[in-house]
Symmetry: C2
Subunit: 104 residues, 2 copies
C-alpha cells in the first residue's frame, strides 16, 4: 500500500475513529456500528477500505467478524511528519533563547 493511498484512507474521520476504538481490543462489526453514527453497511464499507489498506485484519468467530488493528502501516505515514518536527521544536528553541536572553 502506498503512502498516497494511506493518507487518503486516514483522511476519513469515521475510519480514524474506528482505528481508535480498535486500539484497545478487537471489535465486531456490530460493536463498531453501535459506536458510530453510520448504518451497518456504511461501517462495513469503511472496514473494507481499512482491510484493503492492511490497517485491520479480520477473524471469524461464528457469525461474528472480529476486527483487529494492524498499526504497522501507520508508521510510514508518521514518518512523513518527521522532517517537520524540527520546525516546531526550533520554535521552542527560539522561545528558550529569548527567555535566556531576558535572564542575562
Amino acid at each position: 500500500m502506498n503512502k498516497d493511498k494511506l493518507f487518503e484512507v486516514l483522511a476519513e474521520p469515521n475510519r480514524r475513529r474506528m482505528l481508535d476504538y480498535l486500539r484497545f481490543r478487537e471489535r465486531t462489526v456490530g460493536e463498531l456500528v453501535a459506536l458510530s453514527s453510520l448504518s451497518q453497511p456504511g461501517v462495513s464499507k469503511h472496514l473494507r477500505i481499512l482491510r484493503e489498506a492492511n490497517l485491520v485484519s479480520v477473524r471469524k468467530e461464528a457469525q461474528n467478524h472480529l476486527y483487529r488493528l494492524n498499526a504497522e502501516p501507520l508508521q510510514e505515514i508518521a514518518d512523513w511528519f518527521e522532517p517537520y518536527r524540527q520546525f516546531w521544536s526550533s520554535k521552542l528553541d527560539d522561545l528558550e533563547n529569548a527567555l535566556d536572553e531576558e535572564r542575562e
Copy 2:
C-alpha cells in the same frame, strides 16, 4: 483549523509535495508550478487551501507572491499517531525478547 479538515488538506499528494518543497525555503507560485505537473491555476487553488489551513503564509514582493511554510498545525496531526507508536515499538520489543531468548 480542526483536525478533520487538516487531515483532508494533507490527503492531497500535490499539497504534501508543496509543503515538502517549502521546507527548504520560500517559493514563488511560479516556482511551485515548475516543480509540479499542474497548471498555474491548479497550483494557486491548492495554495489557497494550504493558506486557509494556516499551513503556509504569503508575502508579496512586487508581482511575486512568496509562500512560506508554517509547520505548526502539523503538530496536531502528528499527535494523532502517538498512541499508535506503542504498537510498532512493542513489535520491536517482541523481536528483542525473542532474540534474547535465543541467546540464553
